[in-house]
Amino acid sequence: SGSGATASPGGPKTGGALTVALSSDIHYADPSLVSDAESLYVANQVVEGLVGVAPGSLSDIIPVLASALPTVSPDGLSYTFKLRSGIKFHDGTDLNAAAVKFNYDRWNAYPKGDLQTNATYFAAAFGGFGDASNLASVDAPDPSTVVIHLRHPQSNFLISQTVAPFGIQSPTAIGANDGNNATLTSNPYALGTNGKGKAMVGTGPFMFNDWTPGDHVTLVRNAGYWDPRARPYLDRIVFKPFADIASELKALQSGAVDFVQALDPASVKATTGDANLVLLDRGSGCNVTQLAMNDADTVGGAPNLLANKGVRLAIAAAVNEPAYIAGFYGGEASVADNWVPSGAQYYTREYLPTYNVTGSRGYLAKAGVPTTGLALELWYPTGAPASVLPDAKGLASAIALDLQAAGFTVTLKSEAYAPNYLADEAAGKLSMWLQSQTCRWAGADDFLYSAFFHYTNAAPSAMFGYKNDDFNTAMTTALSDTTAAAAKADWQKAQDLVAADMPTVPLLNAKPPAGARNYVKGFVGAGNQIEILSSVWLNK
């Protein structure tokens, strides 16, 4: 889509600084240690992995540092990458196979403690570290060849490597700035405390300049970027965190920031109504917001109404998603038809119940559930990042009203998002709650398996208490397929199984809106927010 990319008569101009409003500060300057949207957004400008996704798409894998997509051994265990030549890190050292090997070995060898705790992407992609990791070894037979050996076949391997935490960084810089220090408090590379160019040293179009925690992160142009077609126009990018989302629109309107990375949906109307501003379209988002449910027979010792599939279906029919989209997302979302957003790898269209209050009562009747005493608790988080749930409170109370209209009595409960809410949902203490999941990488596995319904130690997850052995088998099979075609088929089967069971109620896929001043040109948006700002230029 990339609506900002309309070429102006004068053509792109070089120079200028772009100020970007972020919803919160970045966490660490080492991309391998971050998992939050803001840190990743910044890291994407600076580091590059072997592979990536095509600009604007969710799951079109393209080679980046590799000159082509890898060749895969028939057993699906060895991936051979050829590297582009002549690429240098921002510190001037060469990118070569040894450097790539260094990075993979480094991640795999992260010790227990701070580093392992934060390197969640690596853990998610490979299932753990060291011996527990599916990454067996990395070979660098020659300076431009890298071979990655897996222990088991892994159908999501390649797409998982498209994200910033797998960006290759300069071994020299990591070594010089104590980047492997196991205690993050004294790891200057991760904290960016050693000053300009001493952290986040990658190969991307922008270079890390400085970071004042809580205040701003500055990137500067990488004039020697290896891809001549993608050389950046901007001199500098300044990322400015805003604790209060309502302030971002004001800042944009006053011209103090040029670009709001995650615009408050409530500000959409004001943005479209302002001739100086443009609303940037990112296409469909790589996320799903659902009315999460615990399907176990008892929750917290009490019998659980939601163990009854009829009740779940009734709820699914009672929620008026289009109204929520209009009310809380400024129209910038689509009704979810699956637990996997469309556009993700191996997505299949499913047909879930739509808003229909009579239908909802019908489900209850069919399931033989008495229509009295249908008491539910609905939890929502306070202080959740707007990029996760822009208005959790509003959404929760609207859902509660709809459920009440369908005959349920709902008690609303709230907790602070981090850590209590997250901890309680993970521990299975909540029976019904609002949950929004943003993809790490745009694969069906990332939602259905990793985020939601995988079994741990052969038992359903504590969070959802959803037991469906066929479905679980289908997913594990799909994950270990050695070919894409097989994986696609298996994932379709898995999706059909879960849709028939309605373990939770997917509500919507938000299109995260971004806003900019109208002189910001050349922006290419992506639903997964992997957006490289090298194409952006300022028309002023």
Binding site: D244, S254, A418
Partner: protein
Amino acid sequence: MARFIIRRLLVAIPVLFGLSVILFLFLRLLPGGGPAEAILGQHATPQLVAQISATEGFDKPLYEQYLTYIGRLLHGDMGSSFIDGRQVADTFLIRFPGTLELTMGAMIFAIGLGIPLGRLAARHPNSWIDAVVTVISLFGISIPVFVLGYTLAFVFGVQLHWLPTFGQLDPRLDVDPVTHFAIIDALLAGHWYVIDAVSHLILPSIALGSIPLAVFTRITRASVIDVSNEDYVRTARAKGLTDRRVNDRHIMRNAWLPLTTVIGLETGALLAGAVLTETVFTWNGVGSWVVTSIQNHDFIVVQSLVLIFAVIFMTVNLIVDVGYAFLNPRIRYS
């Protein structure tokens, strides 16, 4: 005078001791299991809980834990944030200058406007001027900081484009954070960037300064009227001094006494009031840090910040008391 200061410092010791006990217990009595669980939150796995309990010593008897806690505090170790892993002291050094700048801006606004307004009203008691000043101060203390903040930002930032509405400096300017005082850093960077720094300070200072403005106006008015009725002012007039001299030397010198006390109290309150203002104006200070830490349940940070705030508050009060003593010879010479 030195004895006075020492006395005041000694008085502070039991207070700090009591506060440290309360804060120490605060972390250990948090709802939701033990302190380790509270600190770990979503990451709480049995292994991590055990690990944290061991490193932080949560498994030891309480008094022993307290001694360790105090020992660390005395070495300047206030622990580190569980969210970003940074030392509280390090982040504090980055963020405190912003808060100090904001507080001083607000104070300059409140004192600079409040005292002249109060004097003006006191010169014309019960006149329309007095009424206007009274209404200003009435609304000053009745408007929540965030309502005023939003209104100011909307009017002066969004509508009129006169002043910036967030942050300490335009992030596009190339200013090195040397001291983390935006104004000083901007001065060091040259290019008249300091104008930008000052313009960023204006709206938040007004929002934060509204309450002290109102308080100072009232106190000034009341104490100027009080002092004007004192015998020694009558004496001064009877000596044939000019109005100006009577006002500046005899009335104001004495009216400053209650004012200093109030200024001290308000400065302390401002530091806390900055919690709201910094959030409204995206100010990178300690106040917004408190808010995010509370929202993130980053309790070690909260615990340390409350202690720091208390120390600052008491320090401010000490400074004010010393100032008071300096202004008031009765205390200076006793």
